[in-house]
């Protein structure tokens, strides 16, 4: 069982938090047409992005997509070749890294190996020129926050990976930055610890009220952590939105395929009477409910997530829409889920995921079984690119 941590009632705050929908809200961070080249490689390509006060924003993309470069430009470690980066309405171009009110948690943690845990956390406070007593108080407060009170005198090499991650976090938030930058914050942790830490991070963010910007290639991490996700590809932001939006309503095949698994059927719109469309594809006719479907004659791609499909050894009644007949080609049993790879035509494989709701199934589906896959009219999304 998950233990319930003591925390303020954040559910109400989180469920109604959407400053990006309010045109009156001024963003805290604004990337305005930012471009960065390394030699003839373009790392960040004309990116414009607003991040709001108290938001948890995740930049998600494959490695080399420019997400880390974008974040490093906010920290001041890289200089944009074009465009502006604003923080609280002020252009940061002439502010060196050590004067920017942002702090970063490095992917490698970058803990100072010659300083103790307390020394690491105190480093930024010393640079600020705080009094000794104030530094000690703040260090103790941070140690308590990350539950490392007993480790104040330890050296970084005497800590476990999870403890190091906490020290890096404590060090980065000790100066109360206006934006906390997290570079692949959980990448070095094992799976179990990563899941725990994800929830701790979101709670911590609510508690501190600091704006978080995280960079990750792990979509689960981005979805759990973030209020909004910016999906990046080849230096560009291809979609921005809350996790449910980028997952359920991707704006392109690229985004749909990057976030989770998806089955894509290429077809032509036969008729469209908003919101119902009829599509014709090589795998058969589909009936789809999607307000944004283009008019008849257009080439489109119908994208359906594996978990929104059903699989059955019995044929559905005649006249049921969106049915695909096939044979089971492979089965992946994950415990909570089973993924079936179904061959619906020569070299046409689709993926169907079913929750294993019962412990014992009398006639489980097996390899080469003849099956029928079906999905509802509103299960898929029509993509035009």
């Amino acid at each position: 069982m998950t233990t319930k941590a003591a925390r303020p009632n954040i559910g109400a705050i989180r469920s109604s938090f959407a400053p990006w929908n309010d045109p009156g809200t001024k963003p805290l961070v604004r990337f305005d047409g930012v471009t960065k080249r390394f030699g003839d490689q373009i790392a960040v390509d004309n990116v414009s992005l607003d991040i709001y006060e108290r938001e948890f924003f995740a930049l998600l993309g494959p490695s080399g997509c420019g997400k880390t470069t974008l974040m490093r430009m906010l920290a001041g470690f890289e200089t944009p070749d074009a465009g502006r980066i604003m923080l609280g309405g002020v252009d940061l171009a002439d502010t060196p890294p050590h004067k920017r009110p942002v702090n970063m948690m490095f992917q490698s943690y970058a803990l100072f190996p010659h300083l103790s845990v307390a020394g690491n956390i105190a480093f930024g406070l010393k640079m600020e020129g705080l009094k000794k007593v104030a530094i000690t108080d703040r260090v103790n407060e941070m140690l308590k926050l990350v539950k490392l009170e007993a480790y104040a005198a330890r050296m970084p090499h005497q800590l476990s990976g999870g403890q190091r991650q906490r020290v890096a976090l404590a060090r980065a938030i000790a100066r109360k930055p206006r934006v906390l930058l997290l570079d692949e914050p959980l990448a070095a942790l094992d799976k179990k610890l990563r899941e725990e830490t994800q929830f701790e991070l979101t709670d911590l963010q609510m508690e501190l009220g600091i704006t978080f910007l995280t960079v990750t290639h792990d979509q689960d991490e981005a979805m759990v952590l973030a209020d909004r996700i910016g999906v990046m590809d080849q230096g560009r932001i291809v979609q921005i939105g809350p996790p449910t939006e980028v997952y359920e309503a991707p704006n392109s095949r690229g985004v749909a395929e990057f976030l989770g698994d998806i089955n894509i059927f290429e077809g032509i719109v036969e008729t469209f009477n908003s919101p119902v469309a009829s599509l014709k594809s090589a795998d058969g006719h589909f009936k789809v409910v999607d307000e944004d479907c283009p008019a008849g004659g257009a080439t489109v791609w119908l994208a359906v997530r594996p978990e929104k499909m059903r699989i059955s050894p019995k044929a559905p009644p005649k006249g049921t829409a969106n049915v695909l007949a096939g044979e089971i080609w492979d089965i992946g049993y994950l415990g909570d889920w089973t993924t079936y790879i179904v061959e619906i035509g020569p070299n046409r494989l689709i993926r169907v995921a079913q929750a294993n709701a019962s412990r014992i199934v009398e006639h489980p589906l097996s390899w080469d079984d003849k099956v029928w896959v079906s999905f509802d009219a509103d299960a898929g999304v029509v993509l035009t690119r």
Partner: protein, 283 residues
């Protein structure tokens, strides 16, 4: 077999020669060829061992020339090492901050002097520093008065710093080059100016390199003979020169051997301290 090899080499190339020197230091001066007694006699080992004594060490302690030479050597070595850190650190730091292509070139440049003979390089400094040498010719051309550097302690320091700079710069470069750049970024991120980031992160983390470089320079400088002999004056007193004088001028082989043994023992102490510190770092 592989485990024995290092001991075999150490025994052959270090322990055995050292034992010869040590035996010599326990002998007495004699008018013979070679000029000491007793001589090793496999037929009567008992008499040979009984004839060995510590008299020579007594002479070392009672004659102030040895103590003075020893202290002067330590002083010259300490000052030279300090100068080497001051000059070698910026060189190593600059090398470590270069692009990887020019780094290799710079490492080559630092090691290049080793391609010529040490002796020739010291003689080159004689040519530079002597009264009518290159230095004074240059000063004269600029209309400046000549300086008398040759045969002074200053010339010895110049020679020492010149000769030992690679031994300081290379270990320093090795630690600085390995330093994780994200640590400097982290320091800047946490509000440290480049200057403070250097003194709070880069420098303390490079101390093992400073220690290694200092030992590699200090120990041979204490026993250095060629540089004080060629560049130093008659007032430059160093233990290496004293040993040479005892051996070749005074033909007092036991005294030279005893001074060499005493020198070795005094140098083993800082080495052991360094080893202890290294072990602590590794732990």
């Amino acid at each position: 077999m592989a485990a024995i090899a290092p001991y075999l080499w150490l025994g052959m190339l270090f322990a055995f020669p050292f034992l010869l020197v040590f035996k010599l230091s326990l002998s007495d001066v004699a008018l013979s060829m070679p000029p000491y007694a007793p001589k090793f006699d496999p037929g009567n080992i008992g008499r040979f061992v009984r004839a060995l004594d510590l008299d020579t060490y007594g002479r070392l302690v009672s004659d102030p020339i040895y103590i003075k030479a020893w202290l002067s050597s330590l002083k010259i070595a300490a000052i030279s090492t300090a100068l080497l850190v001051l000059i070698g650190y910026p060189i190593a730091y600059g090398m470590a901050r270069c692009s990887s292509g020019s780094r290799q070139l710079l490492v080559l440049a630092v090691t290049l002097p080793f391609f010529t003979s040490f002796l020739i390089r010291v003689y080159a400094w004689v040519a530079i520093l002597k009264p009518a040498g290159i230095l004074n010719a240059g000063l004269h051309a600029l209309g400046l008065p000549p300086v008398a550097v040759m045969n002074t302690d200053a010339a010895v320091y110049i020679g020492m710093v010149y000769a030992y700079l690679p031994f300081m710069a290379l270990p320093l470069y090795a630690v600085l080059e390995k330093q994780d750049e994200s640590l400097i970024e982290a320091a800047a991120d946490l509000g440290a100016t480049p200057f403070r980031a250097f003194w709070t992160v880069t420098f303390p983390m490079s101390l093992p390199g400073v220690a290694a470089g200092a030992l590699l320079c200090f120990i041979p400088i204490v026993g250095e003979f060629v540089i004080p002999d060629l560049l130093g004056g008659s007032s430059t007193l160093m233990i290496g020169k004293t040993i040479w004088t005892e051996f070749f001028n005074n033909r007092d082989w036991p005294a030279a051997a005893a001074a060499a043994t005493a020198l070795l023992i005094t140098l083993v102490v800082p080495l052991m301290l360094y080893q202890r510190q290294q072990a602590r770092v590794l732990r």
